[in-house]
Symmetry: C2
Subunit: 245 residues, 2 copies
């Protein structure tokens, strides 16, 4: 029996999120089904670095599972990709020691949030970036982002449904960059609470439109109240970019 | 009654092509349905610069139609986009004179073909760029492209099903450029035959892999035989980029 770590990419637009749910198409159930096929029907449970919601994409989700099969390590992606639907791909597989756990061994994550500015929707981006119909003040957003860096209690920036008790996290990086047609905000931190990136983005967007100011960020953090922050930005702009171990 | 010219963008992945077909979801039928809604059920026929096949995208398709409605010109896209599905958008509308015809007034078109090099598929690009799993010799492809520029009988580079008699077209530009993650080949010409861009791409790809040589292009043209050229490259990489009048 060996433990395998896989880097997984998926287009979240046709999934009801990562995690198995009855009668729903999920990333986890598709991968577990592919694994069951090559294990003669045996259930091989997979463990991910964390869930992603419906519509959220992944460029570098990480999972692990245990298998007794002796498939050469470089063949694993080929075998699994042959069984998986087109909107999931195993990018890389490696053998890890038995203490590795895709979720509990995580030391950090990077997310990207993509948006484009246009008064008219772009049909080709509609599932892959958030359409911002108004002009944004990115300089104000960058100032606001600086206020959010570091170690804070992020209660104001997570879903009220978050079940973990310790809501202290460290945001190491919030960087802004522009591709050919999109603005990207990259978040790197030691961990992220439920909906945290999307609420951070929603709040930064309110700074970008002038509804909130950069200096409002610290008071929002201090309130420890979800209703103090901005709206939850839509799922389609969010990408789980990389998981660090 | 006024004639309106619209620039239209669509994500072709969920359409059975541009042109109306019974019981199929097509771009034309969606736009005509939206127009019927604002014309109290009256059928308003639209005319496009040309068809696009199933899976082919458009950034700058052009259509025209006639309407008696007195909607302010800048409101037309807003009204129509409110009725259209998310995978079509009217980018711009202008009033044109009665002699303008989206198809017959065309003097040229630009297409882009997008591809990415990777041995493993990218789930996020699968409907928007063609995955090339092997290395390509772009220098050889550029040399081959030069041989195809100019005015030629493109019988070898169109579907055997092409119905027009005159297969002489002028290719003004075939340019290669790279975005963050993709290679793009842009074709500009005075007109394109059925499947012409996809067969040009398929043939250039065979040059890129060494199966054909740049100096094979002229003999292929001279044969005037579809079977002399390469395969038809897949629809997902193709974008109708711009139509010139």
């Amino acid at each position: 029996m060996k433990r395998y770590k896989c880097i997984v990419s998926y287009d979240g637009s046709q999934f009801s999120g990562y995690q198995v749910q009855p009668n729903k198409r999920t990333v986890q159930s598709e991968i577990e089904q592919a694994l069951a096929t090559i294990h003669k029907g045996e259930v091989i449970k997979i463990f991910a670095s964390g869930r992603t919601d419906a519509g959220v994409h992944a460029k570098g989700q990480v999972i692990h599972f245990d298998s007794p099969l002796s498939i050469p390590i470089e063949k694993w992606p080929i075998v699994l990709n042959g069984l998986l639907p087109d909107d999931i791909a195993i990018l890389k597989t490696e053998i890890v020691d038995d203490h590795f756990h895709a979720r509990f061994s995580t030391v950090g994550k990077a997310y990207q949030y993509r948006m484009y500015q246009s008064p008219i929707r772009d049909p080709l981006k509609r599932k892959y970036a958030y359409q911002v119909p108004y002009q944004l003040d990115f300089e104000a957003m960058k100032l606001a982002a600086e206020q959010l860096l570091g170690t804070h209690d992020f209660t104001s920036f997570c879903s009220a449904k978050t079940e973990v008790n310790d809501k202290v996290r460290t945001l190491k990086e919030i960087s802004f960059y522009k591709t050919d047609e999109e603005w990207v905000i990259q978040f790197v931190g030691n961990g992220f609470l439920y909906n945290m990136v999307r609420i951070l983005v929603g709040t930064l967007l309110e700074v970008g439109t002038g509804r909130k100011k950069p200096e409002d960020m610290r008071p929002i953090l201090e309130k420890r109240d979800r209703s103090a922050a901005g709206k939850t930005a839509p799922a389609e702009g969010l990408y789980l970019w990389k998981v660090f171990y």
